[in-house]
């Protein structure tokens, strides 16, 4: 058994990470964070998953969301797809292995992969709507979201969904609110078979090795860890029985990459941004030349102190 995470601390304490831990911020540049958090990861072991949907229920409960009561569509998947409320869904695939002629029922928990190189963040034009912490979590900051949906286009895994209620985009936060206080994500907590485990990325890779060894001993020659390099690796990883063909797991991309369009847009944006910075600097020099240096008055100093909370 992977050592279980401790039960929640019931005395409220400060969050262990936050804005100061940002390594990326959409449409913005950030200073390198003062410290490096240990990269975390959620490992989803598809070979241990029994499709009980406890993760889906836990996600709805923790985030206080309620999915619409839908219909049966001739499959066990419900809802059929990710929504702005269902940030994770189980996808069921009935696959006949051509080598053995055995039916394999592949059940994959779908949701945000928390890419090290996040396509959503790169595509986002709204400053600070998408951020990435130094532990690897990619989070959406809803008050900054303008609902343009570019992140959806930018995601190589087709994960974010736009809400009809507030016209902003939602996806799994890796329970950043829980992680910040030393807990694991809600889905991991609820998973009865430890098909979902959570820890440092390093620990998760080591744990995955054990699982892959077990699978290989049971005849799954191509068992392996899905941590796709095309997006710089991910902070949600899968143990797959058939790493040679991820697409059989309800269309998991074989080799996910950020869309070239996003790279192009980011590229152009970058140059446009640099041009703006250059122009501003030039204007500043001109201003200095024409008007002389700015003088800071006593009043300015006092206002600045007030803004900074009267601090030192």
């Amino acid at each position: 058994m992977f050592p279980p995470l401790p039960n929640p601390n019931v005395t409220p304490g400060p969050a262990t990470y936050g804005a100061q831990d940002l390594v990326r911020r959409s449409a913005s540049t950030v200073e390198p964070p003062a410290r490096q958090l240990t990269p975390v990861a959620k490992l989803i072991d598809v070979s241990k998953c029994i499709g009980c949907k406890a993760c889906q229920a836990a996600c709805l409960e923790w985030n206080d969301l309620r999915e619409e009561i839908g219909y049966n569509h001739g499959v066990l998947d419900n809802p059929l797809d990710l929504t702005a409320d269902s940030l994770t869904v189980m996808r069921f695939t009935e696959w006949v292995n051509p080598d053995t002629q055995n039916l394999e029922w592949l059940i994959r928990k779908d949701g945000c992969m928390h890419c090290a190189d996040p396509g959503c963040l790169k595509a986002c034009p709204s400053p600070g709507a998408i951020v990435q912490y130094s532990n690897g979590i990619v989070d959406f900051i809803h008050e900054n979201c303008i609902g343009c949906g570019y992140c959806i286009k930018g995601c190589p895994f087709n994960i974010p969904r736009i809400s009809k209620k507030d016209n902003t985009v939602y996806k799994c936060t890796l329970c950043s609110d829980r992680i910040a206080v030393g807990q694991g994500p809600a889905c991991q907590k609820a998973c009865p078979t430890q098909a979902i485990v959570f820890g440092t990325k390093q620990e998760m890779k080591q744990w995955a090795d054990l699982r892959i060894k077990d699978l290989k001993s049971r005849g799954f020659r191509n068992a392996g860890l899905y941590d796709p390099p095309g997006v710089g690796g991910t902070h949600v990883m899968y143990v797959l029985h058939h790493l040679d063909q991820p697409h059989i797991y309800a269309g998991l991309p074989d080799n996910p990459r950020i869309s070239p369009l996003v790279e192009l847009w980011k590229g152009m944006g970058k140059y446009a941004g640099l041009a703006i910075i250059g122009l501003t600097a030039a204007a500043g020099v001109l201003h200095h030349l024409l008007q002389g240096p700015n003088r800071v008055t006593q009043q300015d100093e006092e206002s600045a102190d007030r803004l900074a909370g009267g601090g030192t």
């Binding site: 058994m1 029994i50 709805l60 409960e61 009561i69 049966n72 569509h73 001739g74 078979t193």
Partner: protein, 810 residues
Amino acid sequence: MTNSWTDIKNTDLVVIMGGNAAEAHPCGFKWVTEAKHNRGAKLIVIDPRFTRSASVADVYAPIRQGTDIAFLLGVQNYAIENDKVQWEYVKNFTNATFIVKEGFGFQDGLFTGYDEIRRDYQRDSWEYELDADGHVVRDDALKNPRCVWNLLKAHVSVYTPELVERICGTPKDTFLRICGMIAETSARDKYMTSMYALGWTQHSKGSQNIRAMAMLQLILGNIGVRGGGMNALRGHSNIQGLTDLGLMSNLIPGYLTLPTERETSFDDYMSTRGFKPLLPNQTSYWQNYKKFFVSFLKSMWGDAATANNNFAYDWLPKLDVPQYDVLRAFELMHQGKINGYFCQGFNPLLAFPNRRKITAALSKLKFLIVMDPLQTETARFWENHGAHNDVDPATIQTEVVELPTTCFAEDEGSLTNSGRWLQWHWAGGTPPGEAKSDNWIMGQLYQRLKELYQKEGGKVPEPILNLDWRYKDPGSPSPEELAKEFNGYATADITDPADPSKVILSKGKQVVSFAALREDGKTACACWIYSGAFNEAGNNMARRSTNDPDSTGAYPNWAWSWPANRRILYNRASADLEGKPWDPSRKLMEWDGSTWTGYDVPDIAPNAKPDVVMPFIMNPEGVGRLFVRRMMREGPFPAHYEPFESPAVNVLAPKVRGNPAARVFRGDLEQFGDAKEFPYAATSYRLTEHFHFWTKHVKVNAALQPEFFIEIGEELAKEKGIKSGGWVRVWSKRGSIEAKAMVTKRIRPLTCDGKTVHIVGVPLHWGFTGAARRGFGPNSLTPYVGDANVETPEYKAFLVDVEPISGPVA
């Protein structure tokens, strides 16, 4: 369970047959994944459908529903033929060597003594040969053709792999592969666990399904060991507690039996409950029956139960029929003979077979009281809900009273889990509205009934007037008070037999365990197997230590396990005749020369010598039974019988329909369909997203599985022109339902006796109340017949027809 959930991690091989643990017991299933991960254990799943459990199995085998006995006797035959037998275990710890009386036999699907008119057996020939001392005659060399082993060998010899394939539809190569894996566990140091549930019980021969596997486990030496056992996965969090506390109509708490009307006196009753040992020097623990029974009567009637009135034996109800099971109760209701009904915490309108009959029966009642935390369909059986409950309220005169109750999370108490652990829980919330606990309702009811008897008298008022009701608030007994009563206490000072001046337990003190119970009335105990749960050491059910010495999975100080905090039943069988563990790496109990030591509480007297007293002390034989004498209604060995509604005839006995000893009420036989009219073999089951009829009221669960559906294979869908996600009608001889169709590769047609058998799956969970969409349940379709011994209805095997329809009616 003989073992516990946590013990499953110790196994080498898990066989899930007659259940779907991953789907129905996802939390307990974690111990299967632990065994796989840590020990490299293998998982075999045998089921008509490729289930969620099958999705993580090493081997899956399809089987036609209702043919488990043929499969299991086939495995027994394989083990015997290939000498895959734990011989030392079989020869010493089972009745293999016992000689059966002359005259016993089996022919054309029937054992000796069958009476076709009564659908019952005269069971005299199903008995051992006894010597002059009343001990069984044995043949240790297993040469006598009438010894149990040779009778068994002959009985199972017909179940060849070819016959298994012909009956079950399981491909021969898959069957043989599974036989090979199972047979390996006949080694002293290899163990298999059997995990089963309603997939075995809900058949007209459910008890024999379970016996067939229990016998196999004895042959392989897998009972009483870590990682072995017969493990019944109980469906409801406290259904184990229900049977323990005797909520069956023929039981009183602790698996004591209610007297029959022929047992008019206390002595008559006790005369058949002596359980004299059948081997010299053997312990027969039920010889303590009288202590448990008298203590029970003392807990019922307190000071009014005295030696002079045989501890109020006369006030116990006496059964005039074998049992008032639910099928009989609703049959009597249907006949107008039961006219008032208390429905406490269940939903018969959707749960009992032949819903049309259930509706008709409820409509004949004068009153129906429903106690439930939630809205149930039963409470609204009289309302018209269109196709989902098509009744005419004007014609129904039943008065329905709903008493809203608390649910388990709003009250404290204990729940007994599948592993016999009594786990105390505390209230986690406040009951809504006018909801009251079941104890409060029962307390109030009793006060009023008593008052009526006091005022108005009546026939036999004594049992009510003299009931021992020593609760602080008589209108609301507390869970703690009830738990203490189950544990038992001294009703008088108990003195040391060696020194009568010395009081060893003073009046009113809790007894330490059932070993302290007495037959002289000086102790009271409501449920002897729960004795020890709440003694003078406190509430042992509330213990929460995760300490587990040497990680055996016993967790001896977590909660409390009956009996005597024992975690694995028959644990003395984990060691050989010298008391040495069969598998030293999985030691459970060991004889140290003078006493039994180990990780568990020994299931035998601590000083009982290993070569003298055999491990199965609850049987008068002291050993496990491969042959059960007269105890099972349909025979001492399991035999293959088809379900009452089957796509195939019984190839071994074409004239026998269903289980020949199963009870069928007049009128119900005519309502059984046959394969000509209803060609498809249907089965029913639960889904992981829901719990019975509760969670359809919960928005989260309802969203995860919102709408009723049935499952069929791609081949049948193609034949019938049914599209996945499209609408179908499914009907049996007793009713018709409409549903969405789920077309799946997980259900494949089977070939049985040269014929293609299509399977139709009908999940349960939908009704006409709650947050989920309205739907039907399998009980609209299933037949009104139950297991021959315990009357659990046959929900798992019935016949239907199916057709595509354009959409639901209204």
